[in-house]
């Protein structure tokens, strides 16, 4: 049962699952279903997220979702079309001059319209929560590592960018503190050059150092490739692009002959993939401990897709049950098939391998001879756990 030993599930599987769930949610305004989906996402995140820093980011997405719902409701009160019979809050209506005809500011807030707005906001919030779940579950760096060879360098560049962002924030803090040493605590636009200049210099310096280090470690090495293969790669990539463009045009324009549509698009995609695959040959790169793709990964993706399919079937049969009945106002329906689809999406919370335990640094230190206590001291940001183990030792 190696598939179930504690390990990180392939990040692409989590994204597949999350996208399936988001697609399912996109066609739903029924609050019961929306909250079910949110609950499923939260359940999977809490039971399968790892110990990495971004694993804690799910909460941020939830706050973002709440913000969206509130903003949507406020916008409705301000400029929305107030429909329904039940007046909740009588407000005067402001009529705008003729050049802005059709927009009415404020006006009586009615229950039905407000509920519609909130449910609409909730749908967007839940979709964002799905993306947030994928972000919390899948290590973005590991996802980029599993890119095909031809794209791996782009992946490395993105990884470096992700790393630089927090460093930038740290530089800003440091420079702000240093500025206070010169008695300068002014804020706003006047302070900008005084902060921006040292920070930019710092960032540029670091970027150059990193680029030099990566260069020396072999980033961007190329294998010698025969001219024929290079030509073939170029032809495939270019041909794929052209065929894809023609295909997309054909799909969107009904008047074109049938062969210009889906077939051309399929050929284009196939050619592009071949180009990427061939291009990967020039890149000598290999991957240390690649994430395996076993049945839990298939199961994860399938559960997300199933949710989308279930909602799709309900939409074809009884589309009204996916919505919130507003006129007249009534309790939302409970389409069992859709609920079942969302519940299937919760399966990864139980059937995938558990994430590996957090790194246990400091274990070896407890056994180290007393003379080596010194090197245990971490930087100021050392975790509480680290400090404790040190105390125990001394």
């Amino acid at each position: 049962m190696t598939a179930l030993l504690p390990r990180a599930v392939h990040p692409a599987a989590w994204w597949g699952w999350a996208i399936g769930l988001a697609v399912a949610v996109s066609g739903v305004t029924n609050p019961v279903l929306l909250l079910t989906a949110l609950g499923v996402a939260a359940l999977v995140v809490t039971s399968r997220r790892g110990s990495s820093p971004w694993a804690k980011s799910f909460r941020l997405y939830l706050w973002l979702g709440l913000f969206i719902v509130v903003v949507r409701a406020l916008l409705h009160v301000l400029v929305g079309l107030k429909s329904g019979d039940t007046v909740l809050l009588p407000l005067p209506e402001v009529t705008l001059p003729s050049w802005a005809a059709g927009i009415n500011l404020l006006g009586d807030v009615r229950l039905e319209g407000l509920l519609g707005a909130i449910v609409d906001g909730l749908r967007l919030a839940v979709m964002i929560a799905c993306v947030g779940a994928a972000n919390a579950l899948a290590n973005p760096k590991r996802l980029l590592r599993s890119l095909p060879g031809a794209l791996s360098e782009v992946g490395s560049a993105v990884v470096v960018t992700i790393t630089v962002a927090p460093q930038l924030a740290e530089s800003v803090q440091r420079v702000m503190r240093a500025r206070a040493l010169r008695g300068d605590t002014s804020r706003g636009i006047r302070a900008l050059p005084r902060i921006a200049l040292p920070v930019l210099e710092d960032t540029l310096d670091r970027s150059l150092l990193l680029a030099a280090a990566m260069d020396s470690r072999g980033y961007g090495r190329r294998r010698v490739v025969s001219p024929t293969q290079r030509l073939l790669t170029g032809a495939c990539t270019l041909g794929g692009l052209v065929a894809s463009a023609v295909g997309i045009y054909g799909v969107l324009d009904d008047t074109t002959p049938a062969w210009m549509g889906v077939p051309a698009l399929a050929v284009g995609i196939a050619l592009s993939l071949t180009g990427i695959w061939l291009g990967g040959h020039a890149n000598a790169r290999s991957t240390h401990r690649p994430d395996p793709w076993l049945w839990p990964e298939w199961l994860t993706v399938a559960s997300g897709v199933l949710a989308a399919v279930a909602v799709h079937f309900v939409a074809r049969g009884d589309a009204a049950s996916l919505g919130m009945p507003l006129s007249p106002l009534a309790a939302p329906a409970l389409p069992l098939l859709a609920v079942a689809g969302f519940l299937v999406a919760a399966l990864p919370a139980f059937l995938t391998p558990t994430p590996p335990a957090a790194p246990t640094r400091g274990q070896g230190r407890l056994l180290a001879p007393v003379g080596h206590v010194d090197r245990a001291e971490g930087p100021l940001t050392v975790s509480h756990r680290g400090k404790k183990s040190e105390r125990v030792q001394s």
Binding site: D184, D202, H288, P290, S383
Partner: protein, 552 residues
């Protein structure tokens, strides 16, 4: 293995070549030590070796550099990645991934080694460097010494024939540096790798070096036997200075060798400790009795917490007039947090900081002042001093400093000329050398004329003459009754500069007393001269010169 054939390097816009007609050869398995003053071209030489000069930096390279037969003219750094491993000064700046294991594998991934090989080599390297327990730790959570060892491991995994290290210990505390240096010598001894290392703690590596490459002024490079090159080298650690003064031949290269030669000195009657820790400006500060000055600043019960971690735990500190206090301790012992808390800009969880200056008449609570007022009482030069500079010329920085301190125009400029004469007004602060930039920041902070000046790690990146200039500046301040605190890892600098040493560990003060009493007994903090001549109470070469009538 490494061959320089009439190599000259000229950077764009420079009228002088950075390296001039360098011809040298380093054989397989040798440990070569590159020495020279700051800015003499050590990094350029190492850059030419790794192909970064001129492929990455630009400039013109004349002659040929060949590594194992590969000419850097035809091979970019990435094409040499399987042959050369490069380790920089700041390990964190060169890390590409975020955990130890991934970082060790990164270089191998770029070379396209098979998965099985990578697994095996990662394990081997973890064991060679003794960092197996850190395997899945985040790189940012490691201490400086651990980070540097990971950086060395990350280049070791590709099994390079040459490893190039550019000042690998300059950012580390003494014990962290010790670990890294032990690793480096192990590379040369056990793994038969050719090691080229530029190092400012020359004495630690010198005894293991097979050859020394000395870069003099104007980019003239000489290579030779360590003992011979060190006789005339422009940079010399105390142990070499002592050997030169005593006329020992061959020159002892390690503390151990020197100790054997100094046997007769140890038998000298234990006289009074030599008076001069300072050679200049000690008239106002009676040496050896550092606690007699008037108390300028009293910090009581200082507690600093960062997110639940106690950085400074209930520290009392009194700073007296005319006294240089050295603040020592490991990385992360709370030195910086303490300095920032005392200055008033940094976080302070509990405690009081009072200026008990008789000029002001009454005690002032430093923390209650605003930023502009505070810097007139306590000045702080932070670790990354360049953060204070944001204008585009030295002259503009000086004018700004005069304005913000409310001093007469020209105050800062004259202070700067005292500290580092001859810096033109129109120079960009970024183009200054490390020592000049420190002098500028020091001048900016001194323009406000604070009675108490705190310096966080000022000696980083300074060579022996830069440190001597800083020492003179600090003693000039104490002679005028100011109080100076220097946080540093540099034991030699402390031995020659400080009147009093405060050692911190885990946020607490574990030792506080006159320099001599604190450092001599400590294995990590004892200066070389003290190690050589113990049980004599000498700390510096000057002490020995004063006490020993006949060198040998």
């Amino acid at each position: 293995m490494i061959e320089f054939d009439h190599v000259s390097v000229t950077f764009d816009g420079a009228d002088q070549p950075a390296l001039r007609d360098v011809t040298l050869e380093i054989d397989e398995g040798e440990l070569a030590l590159v020495i020279g003053r700051t800015g003499s071209g050590k990094s350029t030489l190492l850059g030419a070796l790794t192909g970064r000069v001129p492929h990455f930096t630009g400039g013109t390279l004349a002659g040929h550099v060949r590594i194992n037969g590969r000419d850097t003219r035809e091979h970019r750094p990435r094409d040499l990645a399987d042959l050369i491993g490069v380790v920089g000064q700041d390990p964190l700046a060169g890390f590409v991934t975020d955990t130890v294991e991934e970082e060790l594998a990164y270089g191998m991934e770029q070379l396209g080694l098979s998965s099985a090989t990578m697994r095996k080599r990662v394990e081997e390297t973890l064991d060679v460097l003794g960092i197996a327990d850190l395997r899945s730790a985040a790189l940012t959570e490691l201490s400086g010494g651990e980070q540097q060892r990971v950086a060395i491991g990350a280049v070791l995994t590709t099994h390079p024939k040459v490893i190039v290290l550019d000042e690998p210990t300059s950012a580390l505390d003494p014990t962290g540096a010790e670990d890294v240096l032990a690793t480096i010598t192990r590379l040369a001894h056990d793994l038969a790798v050719t090691v080229v290392v530029a190092e400012h703690r020359i004495e630690r590596v010198l005894q293991y070096a097979d050859t020394v490459v000395h870069i003099g002024t104007n980019g003239v490079v000489t290579q030779g036997d360590p003992a011979e090159v060190m006789l005339t080298a422009e940079v010399a650690p105390p142990v070499i200075e002592l050997g030169r003064w005593a006329g020992w031949s061959p020159l002892p290269l390690s503390v151990r060798d020197a100790r054997r030669r100094a046997r007769s000195w140890r038998q000298l009657p234990p006289g009074q400790p030599a008076t001069g820790q300072h050679s200049a400006g000690e008239a106002a500060a009676p040496a050896g009795h550092p606690h007699e000055g008037e108390a300028l600043l009293e910090a009581r019960g200082i507690v600093v917490r960062h997110d639940g971690v106690v950085a400074v735990a209930d520290v009392d500190l009194t700073l007296r007039s005319g006294e240089v206090t050295a603040l020592m301790g490991r990385n992360g012992a709370g030195k910086s947090s303490l300095l920032w808390a005392i200055q008033g800009t940094g976080a302070l969880t509990k405690g009081t900081v009072r200026m008990t200056n008789s000029i002001a008449g009454q005690a002032i609570d430093v923390r209650s002042l605003d930023a502009a007022q505070r810097r007139r009482h306590v000045g702080l030069v932070p670790q990354s001093a360049a953060d204070l500079l944001y204008l585009d010329t030295v002259g503009a920085e000086c004018d700004q400093a005069d304005r913000e301190s409310g001093r007469d125009p020209g105050t800062c400029r004259s202070l700067l000329d005292d500290l580092a004469p001859g810096i033109p007004d129109d120079r960009h602060p970024r183009d200054l050398s490390e020592g000049q930039r420190l002098a500028l920041v020091l001048a900016v902070q001194l323009t406000a004329d604070p009675p108490v000046l705190l310096l966080d790690e000022p000696t980083r990146g300074l060579d022996y003459s830069g440190k001597a200039a800083l020492r003179r500046a600090l003693h000039g301040l104490t002679a005028r009754g100011r109080s100076v605190v220097v946080s540093t890892h540099d034991v030699e600098f402390v031995a020659e500069t400080a009147d009093r040493v405060v050692v911190m560990a885990s946020g607490e003060v574990v030792a506080d007393g006159p320099t001599r009493d604190v450092v001599v007994s400590s294995p990590a903090f004892a200066p070389q001269v003290s190690k050589i001549t113990a049980p004599q109470p000498w700390l510096t070469v000057d002490d020995v010169r004063y006490a020993v009538p006949e060198p040998s």
